[in-house]
Amino acid sequence: MNVQLRETKAAQTLAVIDCDIHPAFRKPTDLHPYLPARWREHMATFGPHLRHGLAAQLPFPRMVAGGMRVDSFPDEGPPGSDLDLVRTQHLDANGIECGLLISLSKGGLEERNLDFAAALATAVNDWQIEAWVKPEPRLRAGIVVPQEDAAFAVAEIERRASDNRFVQILISPRSSDPLGHRRYWPIYAAAQAANLPIGLHVQGFSGGHASTASGWPTYYMEEHYAQSTGMQATVASLVFEGVFERFPGLKVALIEGGFAWAPALCWRMDKHWQRMREETPHLQRAPSEYVREHIWFTTQPIEEPDDPEHLAEIMGWVGWDRLMFSTDYPHWDFDHPAQTFKFKLGDAQKAMLFRDNAKALYRL
């Protein structure tokens, strides 16, 4: 299938790989066929058990249309739930050669009941294949595993790894401990063994910690921004805990967390690591070198300086070979492939950004 895709699309000038598409359930019972009766009943009787006061809604309500593109609502069900509309409105219209499904909170990433979380994850992984990838071969799935249950996560990764319709492992960067902690290492070992990248997509719910060092913010605008500071802390944790020393084959994709912060974060990590390096003798190299080698970034929501050339400079500092285009369809801050970059991209840069980097990382 991959071979065929390559052949048919090779002639196109701008084939796009979209690294961030969000599928949705048309109705809440969509997962039922993939859940054992015990968990269907649990879901109906008790529902999710999260680390938030509001059970069935986002604690920071989105802006217009629940955070969705207003034109993305199908006749029935929420945005992202109708494959035909996803095709016509996005895949066909925007020349998407390949789209990566990011099934956010449906897989129990923040669920406190770990058995329920495992059942949800397994079900969502089945659902991605049956409802999306089988009928639409341009789409690829991600193995959703709740990071707080490393033993289950490893088993689920091993079960799915040989199915090449899954191209990454999705865990939550809003974890209960920073993701570099050793309780998550078995997941990285399994990822390395399966040669699958870890995808970290920003999350609407937390693993039990306020999103800032001074507690919860007031506004959605602040919580939206906290995804960026949270991603930076996650990178620092992976680096300083020595995850990349221990798992030299591990690759991590940061999805929707921004990227313009990466050079400044690397400068800061390098400087203060240099000063305090006796504290982390397990690091053999400067923090920035691990980031440069092991971390990829998706571009949406693209940062927008007044002078677009400033962003081009930053992208050069991050590394053109580490940036991957994404749209976040059908969410409100969708980036359109033709309108996202407001400066002139060279042909080589364009190829890397829109296609080749993702193709190489995900082996598409």
Partner: protein, 367 residues
């Protein structure tokens, strides 16, 4: 590079905080009795953010008793500074008992006035407040404000609640009334995890994560409308780093365009508001030491040469020798950083600059 002329204003310097025994004369009978009988006088009140023997906390050649003579010899004379602003990193503010915290903070302020400011005319200071309780903080600001050598109110970057929230506004009203700036310093109470995904293992991670804490505070002050509510007030981010600013301004301005109905009182570009109201101290300069071009580009991305305030962050170890300034800054930028921006930020330093300070400024024009 070295400071090229005299007369600079150093906006972040840390004298050694006094031990609790030295504070007893500045406490009332109740607290003296409490502190002695509970052995609180034997407690170090060091912050987790700054382990005293960590390389970060003091440069090897700057270790010692950290007394006034050492301060003059190491932190004032070599940089030719006209004035320095002392920020006492005393752990009192991290106590959960807000009355005890307030009493100790008040004692520290009284000690600073008598033991430092009275003895060295080049010193100015920030008012340490127990920021868990805004009413107590305001009372301490009112008490200290009569002494014009206090030029700023000091708050930790990581505290109880984000600083934009209305509960803190009485502190800002008091500061604005008295011509004080608000200084937000690295380090904190650790009453919340330092990151949105919990507790990092290493000190270096906590320190790195502080820039995220500054980002969150800046955004909180912006979105809650503090900069409009207190237009005369300057917020100084101290020991914050500043190379993260461009991304914050870009991202915030873009997101605001999409979500501005949520905060309709923000009626112009967040980047412009931030440039008008926020300042950052120089050290640490989180930029590659072997590539001055990137720092110059970053300053261009920030889009203003009025935001940075000279600081040594003495005795914290961010640079060696007397090379406190990064390479590649223009003469114009240097003058702003070293003199004009601090004067513009601190009304109480500025008012002095028009009288006694004139002499120093005339002298310093000789390069």
């Amino acid at each position: 590079m070295k400071v090229p002329f005299t007369g600079a204003i150093d906006c972040d310097l840390h004298p050694a905080p006094p031990g609790v025994l030295a504070l007893l004369p500045y406490l009332d009978d109740y607290w003296r009795e409490q502190i002695v009988s509970r052995h609180i006088d034997r407690m170090p009140f060091q912050l987790t953010s700054y382990p005293p023997n960590s390389p970060l906390s003091a440069r090897p050649d700057w270790r010692g008793d950290n007394g006034l003579d050492q301060l003059r010899r190491q932190a004032l004379d070599p940089f030719g500074t006209r004035l320095v602003i002392c920020n006492m990193l005393h752990g009192a503010f991290a106590l959960h008992n807000e009355d005890m915290a307030a009493a100790l903070c008040a004692a520290v302020n009284a000690w600073v006035a008598q033991e430092l400011l009275d003895r060295e005319p080049r010193l100015r200071a920030s008012i340490l407040v127990a920021a868990k309780n805004p009413a107590l903080a305001v009372a301490e600001i009112e008490r200290c404000a009569a002494d014009r050598r206090f030029v700023q109110v000091l708050l930790p970057v990581a505290g109880e609640m984000l600083l934009g929230r209305r509960i803190w506004w009485p502190i800002y009203a008091a500061a604005e009334k008295h011509g004080l700036a608000i200084g937000i310093h690295a380090g904190g109470t650790l009453h919340h995890a330092p990151t949105g995904s919990g507790w990092p293992s290493y000190h270096v991670e906590d320190y790195v994560a502080a820039s995220g804490a500054f980002e969150s505070q800046l955004l909180s002050l912006l979105t809650e409308g503090v900069f409009q509510q207190f237009p005369a007030l300057k917020f100084v981010l101290i020991e914050s780093g500043f190379t993260w600013l461009p991304t914050l301004m870009w991202r915030t301005t873009k997101t605001w365009r999409g979500v501005r109905p949520e905060i309709p009182w923000i009626d112009r570009s967040p980047a412009e508001i931030i440039r008008d109201h926020v300042r950052c101290t120089l050290q640490p300069v989180d930029a590659p030491s072997n590539d001055a071009g990137k720092l110059a580009r970053t300053l261009d991305h920030i889009g203003s040469d009025r935001m940075l305030l000279f600081s040594t962050d003495y005795p914290h170890w961010h640079f060696d020798g007397e090379d406190v300034l990064p390479e590649g800054l223009s003469d114009e930028t240097l003058r702003r950083l070293l003199i004009d921006n601090p004067l513009d930020t601190y009304p109480r330093v500025r008012e002095e600059g028009t009288s006694a300070g004139t002499r120093a400024r005339n002298e310093e024009t000789v390069p």
